[in-house]
């Protein structure tokens, strides 16, 4: 077994209580981070679902030839921003309205609704500017009477999304810093517990890199173990929320793996800072 790994593992054997305390502390700080991540993920999920409902509806002037409408719908469907463009005839529009109004369907008895081209945009083209751009192009067809896309609603959705994004990054960075400080402190305790050993290592000619390596590996191992524990706690918390409060989504495997990598990185950084500071001082 390589010396670095052996020395890192020996620490767990020699001071199991301190190691367990470090891992649990890291787990709790990452758990807070995980809960925040879960909230952010679910907000994003809700916003994504709302965003999927962004739609442009172009109303066609009465008397327009069905062939012209079909050709226009085909043209619109080929726009790079467009995911789907569907022609809705007058009859289909009426049937939809009656379906959507349910018990008040009688109000449409004998009514005529205009035909329309309903356009759904691809992800990444659902922002206000892209929607406005596509709407303007569709408006250029001579037989289009009006184009509606809920401009205010889209602006608000995007403002909310931006606020959520900025708040997410700010809170995420704060949680990451707090986690790193906590991890750094726990590693610092391990460093101080081995201060004598470090001093002797230096006296016999160990380089700082040689001294630092086992601590860095120890930080990574603690970060990963703390991350696994935090993931487990977050999973249990989410199961409880699903049972007693609301249905939420959980991290997929890739995000969970990224979380563990993040824990490892925090462990590494916390160790690097603590050991570096100690080596500079002694």
């Amino acid at each position: 077994m390589p010396r670095t790994l052996r020395d890192a593992l020996i620490t767990f054997q020699r001071s199991p209580l301190l190691s367990a305390l470090s891992i649990v502390t890291i787990a709790f700080s990452l758990f807070a981070f995980g809960l925040f991540g879960l909230v952010a993920l679910n907000i994003r999920d809700v916003l994504n679902r709302l965003e999927e409902r962004v739609e442009i509806r172009a109303f066609v002037a009465e008397g327009t030839e069905p062939e012209a409408m079909a050709v226009a719908a085909g043209d619109v469907a080929r726009y790079p921003e467009v995911q789907r463009a569907m022609l809705v005839t007058q009859e289909q529009a009426l049937a939809r309205a009656q379906r959507e109004l349910g018990e008040f369907r009688d109000v449409f008895e004998g009514a005529t609704l205009p035909a329309s081209i309903d356009v759904q945009l691809k992800p990444g083209f659902r922002d206000p500017a892209a929607v406005r751009r596509v709407a303007a192009r569709i408006r250029a067809f001579t037989f289009i009477d009006d184009v509606r896309y809920g401009e205010d609603w889209i602006e608000k959705l995007y403002a909310l999304r931006n606020v959520a994004g900025v708040a997410g990054i700010a809170l995420g960075l704060t949680f990451a810093c707090v986690s790193m400080i906590i991890i750094g402190t726990t590693i610092r305790m391990a460093v101080l517990a081995r201060a004598r050993e470090i001093a002797i290592m230096r006296l016999v000619g160990a380089t700082d890199d040689f001294i630092r390596r086992p601590f860095l590996l120890e930080g990574i191992i603690k970060g990963v173990l703390g991350g696994l524990l935090a993931l487990l706690m977050t999973y249990v918390a989410r199961a409880l929320i699903n049972t007693y409060l609301i249905q939420t989504v959980f991290f997929d495997r890739r995000v969970a793996l990224l979380g563990l990598l993040f824990g490892a990185m925090l462990g590494f950084m916390g160790s690097a800072i603590s050991v570096g500071r100690h080596l500079r001082r002694v």
Partner: protein, 231 residues
């Protein structure tokens, strides 16, 4: 091999610890450093292994200058030195063998070569058969022998011993001193700081006496410094 050129060491709070010391230690020499507590012996020895740097002047140890040595140079230098302290500085949760092997591991020695080298050096210091003992299970003299074995395992050209017998009874002191003599006879220079005047008087080795940071007597030169000039 080791040269102090007008070395002064001053601490901001406690003042001058070493005052304008110039001396040279030749390869294979045995030198006692003596003098009262606070005379500057330990500071002088610390400057040999660059644990302290001179405030002014220069220490050169086997080509390494205190003026320009950086972290890696210091580590490289220390691998060529052996250092022994009054308080042994052993790792109590490691066996005698592991304490000695530790000094080899940090130099990146081949793991397969370590056990035989450790066994050889433990036998040299008279601890064959005690390799698996932990420091608290050994006497003071034996612990100091482990520390000496650790200092010797990298075949140093100089052994620095700061009050190595300070915590030992007379019998153990004689044993440790005899061991240092044997090490010196093998060609390794020994720099030994001690209060034990009895030990010094019985030997014919070079003696450097210090007082308040200055060298007041150097047997290699006959006299040196203000004390020698005093009536």
């Amino acid at each position: 091999m080791i040269r102090f050129s007008h070395v002064t060491k001053t601490y901001p709070r406690t003042g001058t610890a070493v005052d304008d010391v110039s001396l040279h230690v030749a390869r294979g020499e045995f030198v006692f450093f003596t003098g009262p507590s606070g005379a500057g012996k330990t500071t002088l020895l610390k400057m040999v292994y660059l644990d302290e740097r001179p405030t002014t002047g220069e220490v050169r140890v086997s080509g390494t200058s205190s003026r320009i040595a950086r972290g890696r140079d210091v580590a490289t230098l220390r691998r060529k030195l052996g250092i022994v302290f009054q308080d042994f500085r052993l790792l109590e949760n490691r066996t005698a063998e592991q304490n000695v092997a530790f000094a080899l591991e940090v130099t990146g020695a081949s793991p397969s070569a370590i056990p035989s080298k450790v066994a050889r050096v433990l036998a040299e210091v008279g601890l064959a058969g005690k390799g698996t003992a932990y420091p608290p299970e050994l006497s003071g003299g034996e612990q100091q022998r482990v520390a000496i074995a650790r200092a010797l395992v990298n075949d140093p050209f100089v052994l620095i011993a700061d009050e190595p017998t300070g915590n030992l009874d007379e019998r153990a002191t004689r044993g440790i001193f005899q061991l240092l003599r044997e090490i010196n006879a093998g060609g390794t220079a020994v720099l030994m700081a001690t209060h034990n005047l009895e030990l010094i008087r019985r030997q014919e080795f070079r003696t450097v006496e210090m007082d308040r940071g200055a060298v007041v007597f150097d047997s290699a030169e006959g006299s040196n410094g203000p004390a020698a000039k005093a009536p």
